[in-house]
């Protein structure tokens, strides 16, 4: 059973400069194959991110069905203007990210670094705005779950004690506490992804500065770009869900 009549070098080679490119991984046959495979991997990872957040979206939807009035009322305590500002900031950052990928691909080192820096700045602005939003919530007592104590609301606290079969009093604090629990969980998880994104962006910005990327190899920029777009997209769903529904 002979294996082959094509006698390739055991370490790739055959197309272009693969043998010389320091980023070439030798279980691939061409750089193009390596790039395509990396993209598939990234898209698969992003699918898992969508499912991760998806679980929270489903949970939110079900709780909204359980406490429709409280959820709608609780929305009014979120600051729409700040949410809108953050949306614009992230959209801008997505644009700068696209420009960064394009610059990397067209061998423009300085522009790549610049656009990545702008993206990081936008991300930091986003986090800054979130800090203001969160501190406002903390001060007002619009806290998640059992920590909820918002004094402005004249809603009665829900009865404590053993679980009973009678549904909770309509309009008691459970609905609000749950709303804010989801608010903090979802924006918090999203915020963690932004922080990770900042770390990734910084890393590739430093690599770009060293001139590592070119038309032949810009995979990390492209992949971080994909990640960043998903993080932006998740916010695009979060924003109307939390801030705009009335």
């Amino acid at each position: 059973m002979s294996t082959t009549s094509i006698d390739l070098q055991p370490h790739g080679g055959g197309h272009g400069h693969e043998g010389q490119d320091p980023h070439f991984q030798h279980h691939f046959t061409t750089m193009e194959q390596q790039f395509d495979t990396s993209k598939i991997g990234m898209w698969l990872f992003l699918a898992t991110e969508i499912l991760l957040f998806g679980g929270l979206f489903v949970g939110f939807g079900l709780m909204q069905g359980r406490y429709p009035r409280e959820f709608v009322e609780a929305h009014t305590y979120l600051q729409r203007s700040l949410g809108a500002l953050n949306t614009i900031v992230l959209l801008v950052s997505s644009w700068t990210m696209v420009m960064a990928v394009h610059s990397a691909r067209t061998n423009q080192r300085k522009k790549t670094v610049m656009f990545l820096a702008f993206t990081i700045v936008c991300a930091c602005i986003f986090l800054g705005v979130k800090y203001f939003e969160y501190s406002a919530k903390f001060e007002e007592g619009l806290l998640p779950a059992k920590y909820y104590w918002h004094k402005e609301n004249s809603i009665p606290a829900c009865p404590a004690g053993p679980a009973t079969a009678t549904p909770t009093i309509p309009g008691c604090t459970h609905g609000y506490a749950t709303f804010f629990a989801f608010y903090f969980m979802m924006t918090g998880l999203h915020g963690i992804h932004i922080v990770v994104g900042i770390a990734l962006l910084t890393w590739i910005m430093l690599r770009a500065n060293k001139g590592e990327f070119s038309g032949a190899y810009y995979t990390p920029v492209d992949l971080v770009g994909l990640y960043w777009h998903i993080v932006d997209m998740i916010w695009i769903y979060l924003f109307p869900l939390y801030y705009l529904i009335s």
Binding site: T3, Q25, L52
Partner: protein
Amino acid sequence: MEHVVKSGAPVGQRPRPTKNYLNETTGIWSWMTTLDHKRIGIMYLCGVLTAFFIGGMFALLVRLSLLTPTHKIFGRVLMDAEQYNRAFSLHGIVMVFLFIIPAIPGSLTNFVLPLMIGAKDVAFPRLNLASFYLWCLGLLMALTSIAMGPVDTGWTFYTPYSTTTTGAVPMAAMAAFVLGFSSIFTGLNFIATVHKLRMPGMGWFDMPLFVWGMYSTAVIQVLATPVIGITLVLMVLERVFGIGIFDARMGGDPVLFQHFFWFYSHPAVYIMILPGMAIISELMPTFSKKTIFGYRAIAYSSVSLALVSFIVWGHHMFVAGQSQLANVVFSALTFLVAIPSGVKVFNWLTTMYKGNVSLETPMLYALTFMITFGIGGLTGIPLATLATDVHLTDTYFVVAHFHYVMMGGTVIAFLGGLHYWWPKMTGRMYSETWGRVSAVLVFVGFNTTFLTQFILGSRGMPRRYYNYLDQFQPLHMYSTFGSWILALGFFIMAAYLLASLRKPADAPDNPWGGTTMEWETSSPPIAHNFEEQPVLEHEPYDYRHRVTV
């Protein structure tokens, strides 16, 4: 026409290379930083077998406690109710998350899949190593949770018990979370590998069925696992911060947890069985020296199982309080998912028809699979049937059913694959005689342990019970005896497998007469798998050009 000896090795074996993946580099650091899928597979193998041992010890403890209604061994009570509850919980957690989900993908698939498609490695070797280290972290966290306070929630972590009981529930849940990511990265790696790294000439329908099975598994791993991740996070946050999503006292719904949980955990059981089926699809043609019957049907059924597995989760909740409509829909869909499995069994059996069947140890496991997975699958029918499920669910009938499919299915297939690829991985042949002895003990022990449990269940013995009515004692006793026979079979297996490692590495390239690419390279393989890039030259499982002499 190629002449091969009975074992399948070509007459006039290729000269053996001096360096292979095992001795190419030495030292523990070279193993800990390896990017070689074969070495990672071996490390995973050691890990999951350790986990199997730990989980198995818990199982033996549980069965020992159930030997008599008094729980006494040699006059002393073995465990009290709380300790028993922890023992069965840990048995489940270790076996499900640390063993059965990662075992075949992490160990055998990692080793064999790139070889089968003529590739040098998986798509993302560094991610592969990261998967392994995540598994190790998960193991450490699980052991830490045992030290901090073993959980007693069952592996299912149902609320509100899990959000209120003592024990290191967050640590155990987060161990499962970490293990989930290990699983996701493995699946992600295999999907990319199968898409992009197949050798020249190998189209989708030229791939071995093992690859189809593992690809289908990988799809489930990537899509379903994030959901258990977020579910466990929600449960832990509920426990720590009192969110109120699952807790009735805070206006939540305990049944919602079950929906979230089983949305992953049902597809998870297909993560468990599809690799087992994938192995059987390799064993049957090889040991029948005949092409697999119904290649396309098996390939399509693997993918359809993966997809349909996502829409049947409610059959774990027929008496949980979900609506009657939900019960009807889930029951109907569950019957649907039975068909592809049945088709595979028929195809495998037909492969032997007019074949040239030899009964080496891997084949003994494959034949055992037909029986034990057959029983497991068939006993799913009264469980899918609403009228009978009401009586049988939450009893030992279910315990027997899932052990028949998970252990009688996946573990038996895993053992078959382990013995099949052992010479390829280690370069050594184990003792065939002891292999057969162990296989028989495993078959007898397994059936003795679990067949009786169907009767216990249908007679009304609920599961997760420390105490039981006296009338159930004889059946419990037989079940415990069976567990000892099973344990003996495993200990003998460990002994002869380890003993084989002391022999020189002189196994033939192709001891069984397989037709897939891994048998075209040396046993053990060289570090970069093949001397020259392989190119596809024949259909999968084509025995027309081989004559055994």
